[in-house]
């Protein structure tokens, strides 16, 4: 309303002059006109009677004679219109009679008429000093002051004059009007309103209502103004005044949103001035606000018809457009442009308007061309036209042209930096829509360089970089987006980028943030995120969490692709029932072979896991008996099912891994023969060699006795992975079986070296490792033995039975008092073959004197022969020796012999303080040549061995033995029993060999239970050295 208010103030000033019944003019002219009537001034002058009652006759005559001629001339000159001359006469008169107020007042009026405001004001002031409150003088001085620019003084004089009783009603009205006029000029609304209200009281005038209304509007009292305007409109004022009042009501009511009343006022005004274009446009606007577009258009059309020409057509365009008739609007504009195709600013505006309309009509290419032409024809000053053209090209599906236009706009010097940044972003979106991701990325980067900083830019960059496979850069962009807004989509992008970067641990956190974020992800995004987080958690070994994520992902819709992974995670989380349930919805017949094979794999794994829970180690000691058998049967059933599933899977999709797992199931079923084929196929298949798989095959071979094959697999497994610790010993054992003793020794030595590598968590494990090491050292000792030397002597004290006949000591223990040396040599290759021993032996045997170790030389026998241990696990030997009688009492012969020994607790048990000791020994021999004799020797011992320092043993024991001899020589039978103590010291051991030698002392005391030569008590001492 500012402009309208300023216009109203001008109208107000004009109205004020109007009330003074003069032509509208500027204020001084208006004021001058007011001061003109001489008649009124003459009558007012008469009111100024000079009191001369004290003046004498002479004085009066003298005064009159001195002054009247001047006054007379002045009056005559005034009557003749010669006011300047009259002025001088009056001035001369007043010099002579200064007290004549009447003439002084008249002189002031004359000065005012001559335009001497200053003089007039001075004269009226003199009058007012003498006659304070004299209304006519105040009125004239007010006018003079107004002319002199003293509005405030003038306002005071006009107000005072209006209060004077001396004024006629007409002059009082004039004084009030002047006061109102000056107050308006001073902006003193209150004073102006006060003056107008007094005027209204003494001389009502609807025209002044317009003034008052405007003043009320200016003072903020619109409602009062509207009431006055309504009163004016309803009055009998001239039509122009009423129309003006109605127009102002229209404006004020419209501004208040009271469109109905405004429209009513406007229509009433229009009735008074049907050709008022501005009123019609105001009404059109009001109608538009009312939603009455038809009426609005009608008003506009009427307005347009009032001024024919281009503007009329433009108004028609406007109206048509307002009425929704875009085609008509466009048509009119096209006509306009044809007449003025280029150049003028108006044509440029018409072109852009037409472009808008063409776009509305779906003629985007035409619109784009218009914008482009407008840009080119305006000296390329407004790059925004290029942008609009670009948008239209894009809408027309001409993406390439659109992007070119955007780029041109971007490069235009006139485009401000901030605008360029936005344009770059818009261009990026366009490029993105066109699949030009690289270009889009460049544009976004440019937008960033130009200072555009927003979540959407960073997020889109992230998406583009991700799509481009630049995951690290994408992650950076997503994180930048996150820094700008906590949007779950950014977290999701970061999670996917991290996942691609091989950082599942970080990805899972972002993914969870995306899932927990607000606003929630779109359902499909959320589902994809759940699927992804499931895989991430599976990677991280968080099986239960992975299963939970996938379960949630499938809450609304089953995803067959997830069934097998879900089952796997449920199984790994230990919930086998849930794992089985996860597989249940799958329709096996509908699955492609590879997927069906995967389903069967998982089902097999579930069965194996169930079987594992029934494994003997898991059942515990209390599950023996029937329950144990049931469990075993169930376990076998489950493993059979697993094998069956895997077989089916292999038929569908044979893979090395599946073959391996089938082999393992057969191993678990204790069916190594069945395990071998799949294990062989697994190793023969494509893919990297897996040493542990070769080892599994090796064990299967070993289990079925295919040692050579086992050895081959063990060897290549070990060659590929030296940390397969058990294989050293196991391969060593295979090599033993293969009679590759040197290889076996080397492997056992390596295994011995490896014993510190065995995990030892407690004493039992430590003992087990030590036992293993001891076992292997004994193996090495046995394998590496090339010869053995044994020397012994047995002293029999005091008994008559210490000497038995005259025969040489042919077999061990055949005499109670004897000694000898035995050398056994194992030839290469055949000497030791997997527990079977072949030795060349030679012995020197002799009897000793009673109570002495002195040999009886005549009894000395030297033997040379062969000894063979035919059975791997049984300590039994067969031997044949040629006896050479070296002593005079000795004889040549051939001795065939068989021995068998069994012992428990004979060997040292490191770290064990004592243990039970049991041995049995049988020795049967026969001389083949004459004299042909049979020799039998049996001995059993039961005792307790005490360990000292792990290399010395003391074994008190009881023994029972029998000796029998029969044949060509004298028969002999003896059975004795007694007590003895074996003191044995072990020596010659090293890192790889257990004790290889020992020295033994055996004191005994025994009594014959049977003796063909007579029973007796015998005390003996035997010393044995084995080397």
């Amino acid at each position: 309303l500012g402009t309208k208010a300023r216009g109203a103030r001008a109208a107000l000033a004009a109205a004020l002059c109007g009330t003074l019944a003069v032509a509208p003019a500027d204020r001084p002219a208006c004021a001058q006109a007011v001061a003109s009537p001489a008649a009124a001034s003459a009558s007012y002058a008469d009111l100024l009677v000079v009191d001369r009652s004290g003046e004498g006759f002479v004085a009066r005559e003298l005064r009159q004679s001195r002054s009247y001629p001047y006054l007379d001339r002045a009056n005559r000159l005034i009557a003749q219109g010669r006011r300047e001359e009259a002025r001088a006469e009056l001035e001369a008169y007043l010099e002579r009679d200064p007290a004549d107020l009447k003439q002084r007042y008249s002189y002031g009026v004359l000065l005012a008429s001559l335009g001497d405001a200053s003089g007039a004001a001075a004269q009226m002031t003199t009058v007012l000093v003498a006659r304070p409150g004299f209304g006519p003088a105040l009125l004239y001085r007010g006018d003079a002051r107004q002319k002199l620019g003293d509005d405030r003084g003038a306002l005071e004089d006009f107000a005072a004059a209006a209060r004077s009783d001396a004024l006629t009603p007409a002059d009082r009205e004039r004084a009030l009007e002047s006061a109102a006029n000056v107050a308006v000029a001073l902006g003193d609304t209150g004073a102006a309103l006060a003056a107008l209200r007094r005027l209204d009281a003494i001389a009502p005038d609807p025209t002044r209502g317009l003034m008052e209304a405007q003043l009320l509007v200016d003072s903020g009292n619109t409602d009062a103004a509207l009431a006055i305007l309504a009163r004016v409109a309803a009055s009998d004022a001239p039509a122009a005044t009423r129309r003006e009042a109605l127009s102002r009501r229209l404006v004020l009511l419209s501004a208040q949103g009271r469109y109905g009343e405004a429209r009513e006022a406007g229509d009433a005004a229009l009735a008074l001035a049907p050709d008022d274009g501005s009123l019609l446009r105001e009404l059109a606007e009001v109608a538009r606000h009312q939603g009455d577009d038809a009426a609005s258009l009608a008003y506009l059309e009427r307005a347009a018809r009032l001024s024919p020409g281009d503007d009329v057509e433009r108004a028609e365009v406007f109206a048509a457009e307002r009425a929704g008739d875009t085609a008509r609007a466009a048509s009119v504009l096209r006509g306009l442009l044809e007449r003025d195709p280029r150049g003028s600013a108006r044509a440029l505006a018409d072109a852009t308007s037409l472009a808008v309309l063409e776009a509305k009509l779906g003629r985007h290419d035409a619109a784009a061309t218009l914008y482009e032409d407008a840009y080119r024809s305006s000296d390329e000053r407004d790059p925004d036209l290029l942008v609009r053209a670009g948008r239209e090209r894009a809408a027309a599906g001409r993406a390439d042209l659109a992007m070119a236009l955007f780029r041109e706009a971007l490069d235009a010097p006139a485009t401000p930096r901030a605008r360029r940044a936005k344009l770059a972003e818009e261009l990026a979106n366009l490029e993105l829509a066109s699949g030009r991701t690289a270009d889009a990325l460049r544009s976004l980067d440019r937008a960033r360089r130009l200072g555009l900083d927003s979540w959407s830019i960073e997020q889109t960059r992230g998406d583009l970089l991700f799509r481009d496979g630049r995951f690290a850069a994408a992650l950076e962009a997503y994180r930048a987006a996150q820094a700008r807004r906590a949007d779950p989509r950014s977290a999701l992008g970061a999670a996917y980028a991290l996942s691609e970067l091989g950082k599942p641990g970080l990805a899972v956190g972002e993914m969870q943030r995306a899932l927990d974020g607000v606003p929630p992800l779109a359902p499909e995004s959320r589902r994809a995120a759940l699927v992804s987080i499931g895989f991430l958690r599976a990677q991280l070994g968080q099986h239960a969490e992975a299963a939970a994520a996938w379960s949630e992902a499938q809450r609304d819709r089953l995803d067959s692709d997830l069934a097998v992974p879900l089952a796997r995670e449920e199984r790994l989380a230990g919930d086998l029932a849930a794992a089985t349930a996860a597989l249940a919805p799958l329709d096996a017949s509908a699955l492609p072979p590879a997927e069906e094979a995967a389903r069967l794999d998982e089902r097999a794994e579930i069965a194996r896991a169930r079987a594992a829970r029934l494994a003997p180690s898991a059942r515990g000691a209390g599950a023996a008996g029937v329950a144990g058998e049931v469990s075993d049967a169930e376990r076998t059933r489950l493993l059979d099912l697993a094998a069956d599933d895997l077989e089916q899977g292999l038929a569908l999709d044979p893979t090395p891994d599946r073959e391996y797992r089938l082999g393992v199931v057969y191993v678990e079923l204790d069916d190594p023969a069945a395990a071998i084929p799949p294990l062989e196929r697994s190793l023969a298949g494509a893919g990297p060699f897996v040493p542990s798989h070769a080892a599994a095959l090796g064990y299967a071979y070993q289990a079925v006795g295919r040692y050579e094959d086992a050895g081959r697999e063990f060897a290549r497994a070990l060659a590929a992975d030296r940390d397969l610790l058990p294989l050293y010993e196991d391969l060593g054992n295979v090599r033993v079986k293969e009679v590759r003793n040197d290889d076996a020794i080397r492997l056992f030595e390596q295994a011995i070296d490896n014993t510190p590598l065995y995990p030892v968590d407690d004493e039992a494990e430590r003992a087990e490792v030590e036992a293993r090491r001891l076992r292997m050292r004994r193996q090495v000792s046995e394998l590496s033995r090339r010869f053995s030397l044994l020397a012994y002597t047995s002293i029999c004290f005091g008994s008559s039975n210490c000497e038995v006949g005259g025969a040489a000591p042919l077999s061990a223990g055949a005499s109670k008092s004897q000694g000898g040396v035995e050398l056994a040599v194992r030839p290469p290759v055949i000497g030791y073959r997997d527990g079977r021993v072949f030795e060349l032996i030679s012995r020197v045997l002799f009897e000793q004197e009673v109570n002495s170790i002195v040999p009886r030389g005549q009894t000395t026998v030297v033997t040379l022969g062969l000894r063979y241990k035919p059975l791997r696990a049984i300590d039994g030997y067969l031997s044949a020796e040629r006896l050479f009688g070296a002593g005079s009492a000795a004889q040549d012969n051939v001795l065939l012999r068989g021995t068998y020994g069994w012992q428990r607790g004979y060997a040292i048990q490191p770290g064990v303080p004592h243990w039970s000791y049991t041995t049995a020994y049988v020795d049967v021999a026969r001389t083949v040549e004459s004299p042909q004799d049979w020799f039998f020797y049996l001995e059993g011992r039961q005792g307790l061995t005490f360990n000292f320092r792990d290399d010395t043993m003391l074994t008190p024991h009881a023994y029972l033995r029998g000796r029998f001899q029969t044949g060509d020589d004298e028969d002999f039978q003896e059975v004795d029993m007694g007590l003895g103590v074996v003191a044995r010291w072990l020596f010659r051991e090293d890192r790889y060999h257990d004790f290889q030698s020992s020295a033994e002392l055996l004191p005994r005391i025994g009594y014959d239970l049977v003796n063909s030569d007579g029973r007796d008590l015998t005390l003996s001492l035997t010393a044995i050295v084995r080397f």
């Binding site: 992650l475 950076e476 950082k503 590598l757």
Partner: protein, 353 residues
């Protein structure tokens, strides 16, 4: 000449960095740009045959340079590598390049302390690979334990009583993938436990340090749990976590996710957390040199950012990897320039305190 030119520019670079960082942070240089500037207290030293043959005077210069930038602790990454013993080895199979004694003497002379790394095994990553059965990994670790302890035994007589001896450093890097999960974590914790027990039997009371890194595989809480288990079981005194920035295993943002829970876990388990500040930028691997590691000195601005972040969570020292290789006069012109720039920046910050 080239080195000198770089060195001349270095203070300017440092000054620019101070200004840039301060502007970027919107705070005074003293507070923001200098955060962590004086926290770098240690460095790794990688011994090689060439390094061992370096004249003592060069080593002396290096130690003086290190001291000048606040280095107080030297971590010998290993003392045995690929059949070369950098000490007087009693094992005839070892090629001898004894340098450890010299380094101890120089450290003592410059007021530093030395952590002694043990045996480097190039087969570490293959040996602990997660695809291997746990039983085999356990055997591999047992081999490592024996090897490390045998070297510690050979060294203990000469270093344990030396005034510069700070402790033992287990040279095997514990990553966040191969040991994930209770079973695997127990393996590595058991390995380190056995080793620390063995080391403390050799040198009672000696501190033991171990190092590790994250590469985004484990979740931050998982890595924290892993180290909590290791420190608690093996009684590791100092965990050195590699920030991974130089090697490109982690970004600053990634590392920021790992460090807080790790610090809490290590502290709760009774250890200190040091952070290894990687001073290098790894060159991108190419098809031709996919396995070769190539790197160059990192820009000071990045190092400053690392220090600012790392120091927030380190209860132990910030340890460079490594001053000799990337930030010293021995490290070529760029290394020398970085040294000068870093020193200028650090001293500027120290003065501004």
């Amino acid at each position: 000449m080239r080195t000198r030119r770089h060195a001349t520019r270095a203070p300017i670079v440092a000054a620019l960095l101070l200004a840039a960082l301060a502007e970027g942070a919107g705070a005074s240089p003293d507070r923001e740009a200098c955060r962590g500037a004086t926290r770098l207290r240690g460095t790794f030293v990688q011994l090689t045959t060439a390094a061992a043959e370096r004249p003592r005077a060069e080593w002396d210069t290096l130690f003086a340079e290190m001291r000048a930038i606040g280095v107080e602790q030297v971590f010998l990454q290993w003392t045995w590598a690929d059949g070369v013993a950098f000490y007087a080895s009693p094992d005839d199979r070892d090629a001898g390049r004894p340098i450890v004694g010299t380094l101890f003497d120089l450290a003592a002379q410059h007021g530093m302390r030395v952590w002694v790394g043990l045996a480097h095994d190039a087969g570490w990553w293959a040996g602990i690979d997660r695809s291997r059965p746990a039983t085999e990994v356990e055997v591999f670790l047992a081999r490592r334990r024996l090897q490390n302890l045998s070297i510690a035994q050979a060294l203990s007589a000469s270093v344990a009583a030396h005034p510069a001896f700070a402790g033992w450093y287990a040279p095997d890097e514990i990553d966040d993938r191969n040991w994930l999960g209770r079973e695997r974590t127990a393996l590595v914790a058991g390995y380190l436990e056995d080793m620390t027990v063995g080391l403390r039997n050799l040198t009672p009371g000696a501190a033991v340090a171990a190092s590790g890194f994250g590469q985004g595989w484990a979740a931050p809480t998982q890595l924290a749990d892993q180290w909590s288990a290791i420190v608690a079981r093996a009684r590791i005194d100092l965990v050195l976590f590699q920030d991974g920035i130089g090697a490109g295993k982690l970004t600053l943002a990634d590392a920021a996710a790992y460090l807080p829970p790790l610090e809490a876990a290590v502290a709760a388990a009774g250890g200190d957390l040091g952070v290894v500040v990687e001073l290098f930028s790894a060159a991108p691997t190419t098809a031709e040199a996919a396995t070769a590691f190539a790197a160059e000195p990192a820009p000071l601005e990045r190092i400053a950012a690392q220090l600012a972040q790392d120091q927030r969570w380190a209860t132990g020292p910030l340890v460079a990897f490594s001053v000799p290789d990337y930030m010293s006069s021995l490290a070529g012109a760029r290394g020398a320039a970085l040294y000068a720039a870093y020193r200028g920046w650090r001293e500027g910050c120290a003065r501004g305190r």
